[in-house]
């Protein structure tokens, strides 16, 4: 193994959890080749030390950087669960009672006041629209959790772990929905499928490029295939990401650079693709447009 290949292996291992330790331990053919090179190369050994120091420091700093959407989630939390504040506010928080019932399951904050102005009314309307959508997702998840709960056979831990994953998925989708619906430019797209029982919805904000898509009725993909979400503009299709599955819910949440500043017509869809396939634009199983 030469210097360049060794350093490439070291760099890639440096960002994997415990990667450098595993590589240096030499328990794979590649690791043994790297270890063999390091044994006779002072400069690559020195590079290993520099990489270890740098990676430790970068990991420490990276882990203290909050996720980009935490700001909006925090404001959405305050909007949903905070006490009502007085008139003259730019945007009132705590006047959206339905949001409280969804995000916390609690009753509205004590002393909640009526809506304080047109801006709040707009926010409230957006939230209510989205909340119906979230409630539909929640209903689907609750049904799937209930279905899982009647499985017999004593596999309690497995069942609980599965339910925890499902609840985590719902939390992720719900948080993203609240964040996106707090944006003034939130857009919604209904996705329809050719088969009965197959449906989906998609929310996004062109200004923040955050997007969430959920679908119910999709069967988990067979081996060698996966569902991928995409957006198509002016005949050009761009990938969004692979749909995750949790019980009866298929979803994708995250930023999509392709929708930043999106104006005009666009089509969104979900397709079942072969992992080793060559078809660049497979037929959609769900589709909807602006």
């Amino acid at each position: 193994m030469d210097h360049d290949t060794t350093r490439e292996q070291l760099e890639l291992a440096a960002v994997e959890p415990g990667g450098l330790d595993r590589l240096v331990a030499g328990d794979t053919a590649t690791a043994q080749a790297v270890a063999g090179h390091l044994a006779g190369c002072l400069s690559c050994t020195a590079e290993l030390g520099r990489l270890q120091r740098a990676s430790t420091l970068i990991r420490e700093v990276a882990r203290e950087i909050p996720p980009a959407d935490l700001r909006e989630r925090t404001l959405a939390t305050v909007r949903a669960a905070g006490v009502a504040r007085g008139a003259g506010a730019d945007v009132g928080i705590g006047d959206d009672e339905s949001a409280v019932s969804v995000t916390t399951g609690a009753s509205p904050a004590a002393g909640a006041l009526p809506t304080v102005g047109p801006t709040s009314a707009a926010v409230q309307a957006r939230s209510r629209s989205a909340l119906g959508w979230v409630a539909a997702v929640a209903a689907a998840v609750v049904l799937s959790v209930a279905a899982t709960s009647v499985i017999v056979g004593g596999r309690v831990d497995e069942r609980l772990a599965s339910q925890a994953r499902t609840i985590g998925a719902l939390e992720k989708v719900t948080n993203a929905t609240l964040v996106i619906t707090s944006q003034p430019d939130v857009r919604r797209v209904a996705l329809s499928g050719a088969e009965p029982g197959l449906a989906g919805s998609l929310l996004f904000s062109p200004s923040t490029s955050e997007l969430v898509v959920v679908a119910t009725g999709l069967t988990p993909p067979p081996a060698g295939q996966e569902y991928r979400c995409w957006v198509e503009q002016a005949g050009e299709r761009q990938g969004v990401g692979k749909m995750s599955f949790s019980e009866g819910l298929a979803y994708w949440v995250g930023p999509v650079s392709a929708i930043r500043g999106l104006v005009g017509e666009a089509t969104f869809g979900v397709s079942l693709v072969d992992l080793d396939g060559v078809d660049p634009d497979p037929e959609p199983v769900l589709e909807g447009g602006l």
């Binding site: 760099e11 120091r53 420091l57 925090t74 305050v78 008139a87």
Partner: protein, 228 residues
């Protein structure tokens, strides 16, 4: 950080606006202190999920109890960090865990001087361990500079590179898992990972930077395969 950091008059005025119902004032204070509170909670709990909840609860408390803030009694930063620390400890107790021992030096945020950090730490009760090997002022400044260099480099790098490096370091995902998550070819993930790491190491320089003769960024392929 935003202007006015450490200026109690500015902070107090914003808190007063919160009492009047201003979400914009709350958002401004989040921009000033949200990241530092998250970092403190991370150091205390070693759990990003708990740290996120702590931040949300801290700013919810600020909103709900803004009338109780007294600028004459101490800075808003100290008040918020005290709330955050209490929330973090509550979470840890609920989970049956103990807070991590935190030295005064490591509890000082990047953009605080030691006096500000100590003031905030004392106010929040965060000083639970004295440093047996106190960091020299020069070392503290250097460490803060390195951390700030990493933050700046991460902000400046392309979205695609920042995404892979954060998924790797924050969520401990392997390159194969990142490729799976983003539906990118594995080769693309590897290339972007190496470019991101090289960017960060160049920003750090010194004993952390790439050695002379290291692969130049321009020599690395931008992508391998298609992003789908």
């Amino acid at each position: 950080m935003a202007e006015g950091r450490g200026d109690p008059i500015d902070d107090a005025a914003l808190v007063h606006q919160i009492v009047g119902g201003s979400e914009a004032a709350l958002a401004t204070l989040y921009d000033r202190y949200g990241e530092a509170i998250f970092a403190s909670a991370c150091r205390l709990t070693a759990d990003r999920g708990i740290a996120e909840e702590v931040v949300q609860e801290t700013f919810l408390a600020l909103w709900n109890r803004a009338e109780l803030f007294d600028a004459a009694a101490g800075s808003l930063a100290a008040w918020l960090h005290a709330i955050g620390r209490n929330r973090a400890i509550d979470r840890l107790r609920a989970a049956g865990r103990r807070p991590r021992l935190v030295s005064t030096s490591s509890s000082t945020a990047v953009d605080e001087n030691p006096t500000q950090g100590l003031e905030r730490a004392v106010a929040s009760g965060i000083v639970v361990a004295g440093g047996s090997q106190p960091r020299s002022p020069e070392a503290a400044v250097e460490a803060a500079g390195l951390r700030e260099a990493i933050r700046s480099a991460m902000t400046a790098m392309p979205d695609t590179e920042r995404t892979v490096i954060l998924l790797a370091y924050q969520e401990d995902l392997s390159q194969a898992e990142i490729a799976d998550r983003l539906a990118w070819p594995l080769g693309t993930v590897k290339t972007r990972t190496r470019r991101a790491l090289l960017h960060l190491r160049e920003a750090l320089g010194g004993e952390f930077g790439p050695m002379a003769g290291q692969t130049d960024l321009d020599d690395m392929p931008v992508t391998i395969g298609q992003d789908r």
